[in-house]
Amino acid sequence: MISETWALTVREVKKWVREPILLFMMIIQPVIWLGLFGKAFNLTGLIQLPPNLPPQFREMINQMLRSTFGGTTDYFTYMAAGMICVIVLFTAMFSGMSLVWDRRFGFLNKLLAAPIPRGSIILAKINSSVMRGMFQAILVLGIAMGLGLKVGDAFGPLDVLGILAALALLSLGLSSMFVAITIRIKRQETLMATVNLLNLPLMFASSALFPITQMPDWLQTIARLNPISYGCNTVRAFILHSSEGLDLSSLTFNFEVLIAFALIFSLAGIFFADRGLRKG
């Protein structure tokens, strides 16, 4: 299982690493996203504090902003943490695309006729999608820092590791979910329609771009079920790691949700691979 999965993962990775345009787009896309959403929708900037405001009022308003925006007064910082997760979502969405192509071109048949576990075909797709998602997420983090992301005063290498762990789990779960959706889909049009139906709700009904507490109740319920919220909250907590320390209990809870999400969907993907991939 491991050697076949690895051989197939290498194939997937070679395919996108060798495409210079694809790599270029992967770098340019996050810059555009950060620029458009982060700088144009500057929500915290809407509250313009008059310069002669007494310091205690100023501190009070900032305190309100901090509690709403997860510990920062800067919307760009808030949103960049969310954007890192959205990028992971967008990469995962297309993990199924290559499966549809493989099916259409008959490559999948060749794999199915080979003496390999069906799960390895699915795992390879998931693997390469996770690798790609992580690569892009790290890039976005770097670019966001260049564009003015304000990290907490205690931010260090351990926080970066924490961010990577959270993103890996989120990406594993999302990629598995989209590959599982694609297992039975035979046309790229169907997949595009499905993906388009899911992407915006998943992005907006989460804490990626907008604080959950400011949403209407029904939307809050959805956002709290959305795994992307947990990814965003975790990444944000690490980025804003201040000298006051991390909120360990909420971090643990977030990680538990992410681990459960990743496990359930990746196992389901592998489990359904045998029945689902077969034709007819």
């Binding site: 197939l8 194939r11 395919k15």
Partner: protein, 331 residues
């Protein structure tokens, strides 16, 4: 022991019965062909034999292993060269081969040796480092064939091995396939809708139409069913006595006389012709003109299925796939 053994093998897609209670055997070392028009059930049969599809009814065994219960054992002893071009364009020929060898668990050092061997067999060794994107249609098909050979399968499935290739490349493919049979003693199961191909390559042919086997025999025997070859003779003189005399000669089955032309049905035309001419000369007759016509499998098909193989039109999907393959070949 038979390499392939099927009993009442059946596959239905809803109401459409694509393969209808088909039973046949393929012997070890044999080159066995499925001949029939598009949509006759050839690829569906291959898909069941290669474990890609589960039969609706009936059984199939490959080298004694059941295609449903022992699917993985079957997979490890068969090679499949599918109808579609399934090679990864973004990888080089060598990388495609390495991937294939890993999927079939060939150890790396052994794989390198075998890749050179099979790529030389199909004359692609010098192009191995190039991206497949740059290959011609014929080269892709050859690489596909090489991939099917990497794990030294006992049984090789070739689904329409020369579909969409030009005549020259087709003959070249035939040579490679013959070489396989002679050098590797491999059992080959191929499907085709080209008469010439079945005739040139196969030891035995099953003619399949509407999911059923209509006839199964060697190409020679199938053609003999039509009553054998036809020799036409123009002689310097003609009489009823000559007709009678010719009828007594060996291998002759039927003689008809139209003016000075004798239309003679014989078994095994190549052998019958020399002895026929010899005997006629002994009768002191002068042969003005002679021709030998051999029946084609096309005629056999006409006789068996009641219509010509070439009249069939493929489905829309078939046409789409053909076009897609053509497009890939041209780039």
């Amino acid at each position: 022991m038979s390499m392939v053994e099927t009993q009442n093998l059946t596959k239905a897609f809803g109401k459409l019965v694509a393969v209808d209670h088909v039973s046949f055997d393929v012997k070890e070392g044999e080159m066995f062909g499925f001949l029939g028009p598009n949509g006759a059930g050839k690829t569906t049969t291959i898909n069941m034999l290669t474990t890609l599809l589960k039969p609706t009814d009936g059984t199939a065994r490959i080298n004694g292993f059941d295609v449903v219960k022992d699917a993985n054992k079957v997979r490890s002893i068969i090679g499949l060269v599918p109808q579609d071009l399934t090679i990864d364009d973004d990888l080089s020929g060598m990388e495609n081969m390495m991937l294939q060898s890993k999927l079939y668990h060939v150890p790396e050092a052994e794989a390198r040796r075998r890749i050179e061997e099979v790529l030389r067999l199909v004359d692609l060794w010098n192009d191995a480092k190039r991206k497949v994107e740059t290959y011609s249609g014929g080269m892709r098909k050859r690489l596909e064939l090489a991939e099917g050979l990497i794990h030294y399968p006992k049984l090789l499935f070739l689904d329409e091995p020369t579909l969409g290739l030009d005549v020259q490349t087709r003959t070249l493919m035939w040579d490679y396939i013959r070489k396989l049979k002679e050098e590797q003693k491999m059992t080959v199961f191929l499907t085709t809708h080209y008469m010439e191909e079945a005739d040139a390559l196969c030891d035995r042919i099953a003619i399949i139409d509407h999911g059923q086997i209509k006839a199964l025999d060697s190409p020679r025997a199938l053609k003999d069913r039509l009553g054998g070859d036809v020799i036409e003779l123009s002689l310097s003189e003609h009489s009823a006595d000559i007709t009678k005399a010719i009828l007594t000669l060996p291998l002759v089955r039927e003689v008809k006389n139209y003016g000075d032309v004798y239309r003679i049905k014989v078994l095994r035309g190549e052998e019958a012709l020399p002895s026929l001419l010899e005997n006629i000369m002994k009768m002191n007759l002068k042969v003005v003109r002679v021709s030998l016509t051999k029946p084609t499998l096309d005629q056999v098909y006409l006789e068996i299925a009641g219509r010509s193989l070439r009249e069939h039109e493929g489905s829309k999907e078939e046409a789409m796939r053909m076009r897609r393959n053509m497009m890939r070949m041209r780039t």
